[in-house]
Amino acid sequence: MQDAAASASAALTPAAAGARARAFALTAYPFVVVAAIWELVAKLEVFPPRLFPPLEQVAAVFVRLTVSGILPHHAAETLLRLFAGFALAAIVGVALGIAMGRSRRIEDCVLPLVSIGAPIPGVAYAPLFLLWFGLGNVSAVLLVAFVSAFSIIFNTWTGVKAVKEIWVRSAQSMGADNRKLFRHVILPGALPYILTGLRLGIAQAWRILVVVELLAAVPWGLGWLIFGAREFLNTDVMLAGIAVIGIIGLAIEKVAFKRLEEFTVVRWGMMVS
């Protein structure tokens, strides 16, 4: 409500509107320059138009696929896979990370295993998972979970260890039992780190999901869309798919996690936005 009022009044004052328009133009002009160069190269047919389509063709394909529901269906399947795997990784990773941070014994046992698995790029596991779990969704979801789990575990563990000893002690001396200590001190204290871990985890998963979709031969999905389009030299479809991938990646990063951070750690004054 307040926001709406603020933006309405901002729109009313011409000076603010001018500043906003200038900011918009400043952001837009590099894209205009690059788009103009692209158009020029495409129209002069420096490369075969099948391989280097003009932008209006890509936009037309984008609109056609969106209206016919094909593109949304692909995107929905991909997102479903991403969130299923990510949810699994978040639950297991946060639990394991907290256990490692709280108990020296668990830390000693789990840390070597995690450190061995972490330096191997997730996509290298893909063929192995396909052999073990078969082609299809199970492998894709498990891989997403596996890849994003590492940064979630590491960050949660660091976060729990970084909770100030003095907070823990003062809560204890004020009579907090273990459960209260955990809910009111350790979890909020570690949350900035946990959120960073979740953000890194989902970014990593997103980065390899396209390839996983190709390798796992799932019937729908953005990865499948762009690799399938290559077979028919549909460069316009590929570029439209890549644009959607970029937009979703940006939305996850900027919208979802920004909001989550604003509602928790920034509101509590633990981090400045």
């Binding site: 590099p30 490369f47 046992c109 996509v123 290298a124 192995l128 052999l131 890549i242």
Partner: protein, 261 residues
């Protein structure tokens, strides 16, 4: 303190042994086909065999070549561009929106487009690595230059440093912690990108291609062997190369504290 440390090492070693024993027991129990779950001695023998006949070295050499070529290209472009962005407003205004729009696109999504444009082979892998490594390098160099302490700049200026001296003696060393972080992140990204790109775009050599090819023939032992090599190489680069770079520059200059490990 020291006893606690030895206890940690013993516990860690014991866990690894237990996990290895469990794996071995599962593999030998015959519950799963041995082609899918080879025993550890088989994997080690395969690894040794591949190293002995030199094919592992060739695979690793191709992967390293592609990775380092793309990485070097990314550093050569990203580092100067990032520094220029930090120094000149006009360049920042032009590059930053483009970089923020391209960054969220995973580099591997470009593989099919690049294959169409450049054909199968080394070029695609190198360019994919370049794309992956470019943005961490660029953005870290940019924020490094912007975060150089204003006081240092003014102090150097007051002591009569000209533009040239200011750049080489203050800005570059001041940016170094960020540059090293950028190199590290760029390396991690390019390591993922090279393996992924090789699976799809390489034609005969490379660790990623090797894993992918072994899948076709159900050679799980080969896959596990090359996974080991990929992990080892990644670990060596991360710890040895970047670790020593960090120790010989920013740690020695006292700009960042060594993290306890």
């Amino acid at each position: 303190m020291k006893r606690e440390r030895t206890q940690s090492i013993i516990r860690g070693g014991a866990t690894l042994l237990v996990v290895a024993a469990l794996y071995e027991a599962t593999a030998r129990s015959g519950a799963f086909p041995p082609a899918l779950l080879p025993t550890l001695p088989t994997v080690l023998a395969t690894l040794w065999g591949l190293i002995a006949d030199g094919s592992m070295l060739t695979h690793a050499g191709y992967t390293l070549y592609r990775m380092l070529a793309g990485f070097a290209l990314a550093v050569a472009v990203g580092l100067p561009l990032g520094i220029l962005m930090g120094r000149y407003r006009a360049i920042e205004n032009f590059i930053l929106p483009l970089a923020s729009a391209l960054m969220p696109i995973p580099s591997l999504a470009w593989v099919p487009v690049f294959i169409l444009w450049f054909g199968l082979g080394n070029t695609v892998s190198i360019l994919i690595v370049f794309y992956a490594a470019m943005f961490p390098m660029l953005l870290n160099a940019w924020s490094g230059v912007r975060s150089v302490n204003q006081l240092w700049l003014r102090a150097a200026g007051a002591m009569g440093a000209d533009e040239n001296a200011l750049f080489w003696k203050v800005i570059i060393p001041g940016t170094f912690p960020f540059i090293i972080t950028g190199l590290r992140q760029a390396f991690l990204r390019s390591w993922i990108a090279v393996v992924g790109a090789e699976m799809i775009a390489a034609s005969d050599w490379g660790l990623g291609w090797m894993i992918f090819d072994a899948k076709e023939f159900l050679n799980t032992d080969v896959m596990l062997a090359s996974l080991t090599v990929i992990g080892l190489l990644g670990f060596v680069f991360e710890r040895v190369v970047f670790g020593s770079l960090e120790r010989s520059t920013v740690l020695r200059w006292g700009m960042v504290q060594a993290t306890k490990s």
